[in-house]
């Protein structure tokens, strides 16, 4: 039994992993809420509508004793935990719409979401799902939408900045776990952008009042003391539906990113692509990995091939937003068990949040049976000066077996990379790559790619 450190903020429950299961222990202060959930069947209805992750009440008395609790909930386990700063624009947009739709659904049943943290949404392949059942609470007529500010910071503002100003939010969000504030968003938008009614009402006005009343005590604000002016249900729903309409129409900035067209416009031929495809197919068919990691997944070509050949789940990583968007749309259109995520391998997601245990880093979440890293290694070894030894150790720590493509100095891409800089990589040779890999793994096979000097190494970690 291990407590999941990220669940500490909720005094009414704590989440545990127990024998590969996810169990939510309800504390005494949450008992009343859970009784209400059971009598109203709100959890069942939310699950049925696919808003909430599969959740059920556990009746196992022994387990209750073990957890010292009157109520236990069990949740379906998520294949790979991801965070909003790893989602691309389309994913964050889908997550925002999911949150709003769920809250609208709940309010119509006289419940509501108590907050609006984006971390309460996870992706199962290409679909967002709400995971924190205890964030549901009774709706009292006249109550405010308490999650409004959080919704703006964690969903709306990053989307607005990307859409209106081409500001990529991922690294900013990673640095500030609360998202992007209204005040910061307003500093970037121009006058015309601020005049959009939804932006004006949800971002500009709150930022103005926040600035204006910074030094005032909330109790001194006359407007807030008048009980008759509470938000009624219709106005609450209007706020949610207005935001829903705005977000459903928002689109990513039109900027073309470098890698977006990589699958149609790259330095190797269709013939070489076919060879690589065959190598990946063979590897997947042989190993049948349940969870596969595709490093530098680009538009998701090889991820799709892997799924079609027997891999259950693929998580793809890339740092290019255009490629990630294409990947996500591929996953959605073809309904693949494929989750593409943003990762700057040079500075991967690390342990952040309270006590540095609230949100886990990339390596801490890796539970892959296998990985593929095609045309990836040289972007770290050459472009980022990562020593081969360190790089190979990192690859091997991700999964016990995999494919790594080695791109030598004689290759066109590496030649271009070295054209305007000093070659400070005397040890960057296939020989040293092989020697280092051999120290940590068994090399199962070295695949050649015709008409290039690139090679794909198949390794298996020495256990």
């Amino acid at each position: 039994m291990k407590k999941i450190p990220g669940s500490f903020r909720d005094p009414s429950a704590s989440v545990f992993t127990f024998e590969n299961r996810i169990i939510r222990k309800i504390n005494k202060s949450g008992n009343e809420k859970i009784r209400l959930f059971i009598s109203s069947k709100i959890l069942e209805e939310s699950v049925k509508k696919k808003y909430l992750i599969d959740t059920w009440v556990l009746e196992d008395e022994n387990l209750k004793k073990k957890f010292n609790s009157d109520f236990l909930l069990e949740h379906k386990k998520i294949p790979f935990i991801s965070y909003p700063y790893e989602w691309n624009f389309e994913q964050l947009k889908d997550a925002a719409l999911h949150h709003l739709d769920f809250n609208i659904f709940l309010i119509e049943k006289n419940f509501q979401l108590s907050d609006a943290t984006a971390f309460n949404i996870q992706f199962i392949e290409n679909k967002p799902i709400f995971i924190d059942a205890m964030s549901i609470e009774k709706y009292e007529e006249g109550s405010n939408w308490n999650g409004h500010n959080q919704f703006c910071q964690q969903f709306l503002n990053p989307l607005i900045l990307d859409s209106r100003k081409r500001v990529s939010y991922n690294n900013w969000y990673k640095g500030n776990i609360d998202g992007i504030s209204n005040i910061d968003t307003c500093k970037i938008l121009n006058v015309f952008q601020k005049l959009n009614p939804t932006i004006f009402f949800n971002v500009v006005l709150p930022a103005y009042f926040e600035n204006k009343n910074r030094n005032k005590n909330l109790n001194d604000l006359k407007l807030l003391n008048d009980n008759k002016k509470n938000l009624n249900k219709r106005s609450y729903l209007w706020m949610l539906k207005n935001l829903r309409k705005f977000i459903s129409k928002i689109s990513k900035s039109k900027e073309t990113t470098f890698w977006r067209n990589y699958d149609v416009d790259n330095t190797y031929s269709a013939e070489q692509f076919e060879i690589k495809k065959k190598i990946v197919t063979e590897f997947i068919k042989k190993n049948k990995p349940k969870n596969l990691c595709d490093l530098g997944c680009n538009t998701g070509e090889y991820s799709e091939i892997s799924i079609n050949n027997g891999s259950n789940h693929v998580v793809g990583f890339d740092y290019d937003q255009g490629a990630l968007t294409k990947s996500y749309l591929r996953s959605k259109e073809k309904n693949l068990n494929f989750l593409p995520l943003y990762l700057d391998a040079n500075n991967p997601s690390s342990n952040i949040g309270w006590n540095q245990t609230e949100r886990f880093g990339f390596l801490e979440r890796c539970n892959f049976d296998a990985m593929i890293a095609l045309a990836f290694e040289h972007h770290l070894a050459i472009a980022k000066n990562i020593p081969l030894q360190s790089l190979i150790e990192w690859f091997v720590s991700i999964a016990p077996k995999g494919l790594i493509e080695f791109v030598p100095k004689e290759d066109e891409t590496v030649k271009i990379m070295l054209k305007f800089r000093k070659d400070i990589f005397p040890n960057y040779t296939e020989e040293s790559f092989r020697d280092i890999l051999l120290k940590r793994t068994n090399i199962i096979k070295i695949h050649e790619i015709d008409n290039t000097q690139r090679k794909i190494y198949e390794y298996e970690k020495i256990s």
Binding site: T117, N144, H148, N149, Q150, F209, N213
Partner: protein, 70 residues
């Protein structure tokens, strides 16, 4: 002194814990919702008065009709 410290500790332990501990609602956000509430209330009262005005004219026209029928 010890008693005072104990009081402060107990106060925060019990009194501050029922606030929305994991949520910062944001002053601006609360204010715009209060404004929205006020605007909604304003339109609701207008609607009520409008209803009253409509009823008043309806009554008059009904009276007129009744008079004509007599």
């Amino acid at each position: 002194m010890k008693k005072a410290l104990l009081f402060v500790f107990v106060y925060f332990l019990f009194v501050s814990s029922d606030a929305y501990a994991y949520l910062d609602p944001g002053t601006g956000s609360i204010i715009i919702q209060a404004i929205l509430g006020a605007v909604a209330a304003f339109f609701t009262s207008i609607a009520i008065y409008w209803e009253k005005v409509k009823n008043f004219f309806k009554k008059i026209s009904k009276k007129n009709k009744d008079n004509k029928n007599l």
